[in-house]
């Protein structure tokens, strides 16, 4: 089915000359040579594009400066957050390593203490568990409190 050549030409005009292939450009040119109405349309479109490009819309200095300052401030905040996160990761790795090294020693220490105090195995084992887990519990509570505090602060400042 053949499409309406005028509509086809106007579509090509609407895509802009840089968006056309060589054959489309040749096809359009041939059609414009023989169709006055589409030629007028092309001229009007060309005039519109020229006018559009001449519209003086510009950002003012204050906006640019404010944006640059905001971006710099935000970049510093992100950098600080990243450094804090790095410290937390390093701490976690160190804690993990030291736990892996010291846990067997602590286990033996508690075993020796249990035998010396003549208490049954489950008692010193529970003691070991409490001793072993309490630093992690304390750290979790501190982080939780800190997290809630940060959420509250952000909520207040954003609200």
């Amino acid at each position: 089915m053949n499409r309406d050549p005028h509509q086809q030409a106007r579509e090509l005009i609407a895509f802009g000359s840089q968006g056309l292939t060589d054959s489309q450009r040749a096809q359009l040119s041939a059609h414009l040579d023989e169709c006055a109405a589409c030629r007028d349309y092309a001229q009007a479109a060309e005039q519109l594009v020229r006018s559009l490009r001449s519209v003086p819309l510009a950002a003012d200095r204050t906006l640019v400066r404010t944006t640059q300052m905001r971006v710099r401030r935000h970049a510093t905040q992100l950098q600080q957050e990243q450094e804090r996160l790095w410290l937390v990761w390093m701490s976690c790795i160190l804690v993990g390593l030291s736990a892996a090294i010291t846990t067997p020693l602590l286990w033996r220490g508690f075993q020796w203490l249990g035998e010396w105090a003549r208490v049954s195995s489950p008692v010193w084992q529970v003691g070991f568990m409490v001793f072993w887990i309490s630093p992690a519990l304390a750290a979790s509570l501190i982080f939780l409190a800190r997290g809630i505090h940060l959420t509250d602060t952000n909520g207040t400042s954003q609200g």
Binding site: R10, L52, A59, T67, V71, A75, L78, Q79
Partner: protein, 197 residues
């Protein structure tokens, strides 16, 4: 590809690679330079997208904050301006969606022919920035057409983006972009004919 074209493409790639590296490092000097370089183009696009200079200026700032945060996602194979415009567009669409869900039909739907006049459009919003008579006429004519047509026209003819780049910015298929340009031009020309006569 001839030598000049090859030089041009390589030059563009090295520039976008430098931008990508700088964005990954969150280099504030690079961001300063990019803000300077793209200030007018970005603001112009946002003004036509929102039809409101105040909102456009807010979105302008938010766009650069987002560029800083998401800089590592920029791929140097693409033009920086395409990525920048798509960030600006997504932020604006998200903002308008939260504010007035009904006002975004034209920018979100794939269907053509949906007429959109932003409900918060004030007649003087674009007049404030249009300095002379012709600019006022063009601004008024642009505001009078559907938002998705206006966006396509502005990106193609004012910002000089290729059809494929407009498709990337708007997230619409290439055929839809072509159709929007054609329909947009058809809607715009009669409005300007009277003004230019």
């Amino acid at each position: 590809m001839n030598a000049a074209a090859c030089y041009f493409v390589n030059g563009m790639e090295s520039e976008t690679s430098a931008i990508a590296r700088g964005l990954r490092r969150r280099d504030p000097d690079l961001l300063d330079r990019l803000i300077e370089q793209y200030q007018h183009r970005l603001l112009r696009y946002l003004i036509y997208l929102t039809s409101n200079r105040e909102l456009a200026e807010d979105m302008f700032q938010e766009t650069w904050i987002r560029v800083l945060e998401r800089g590592h996602q920029y791929k140097p194979e693409y033009e920086f301006s395409t990525w920048l415009f798509s960030i600006a567009r997504n932020l604006t669409v998200d903002y308008l969606r939260k504010k007035k869900p009904a006002s975004l039909d034209g920018l979100l739907d794939e269907e053509e022919g949906v007429s959109l006049d932003p409900p918060d459009l004030r007649p003087s919003a674009l007049e404030l920035v249009a300095r002379h008579e012709q600019a006022e006429q063009i601004s008024a004519a642009l505001v009078g057409i559907a938002a998705e047509y206006r966006e396509a026209i502005v990106l193609r003819f004012q910002e000089g983006l290729a059809l494929e780049e407009i498709a990337a910015v708007t997230g619409a298929p290439l055929g839809t972009v072509k159709s929007r340009l054609y329909r947009g031009l058809n809607a715009l020309l009669p409005r300007l004919k009277g003004a230019q006569a």
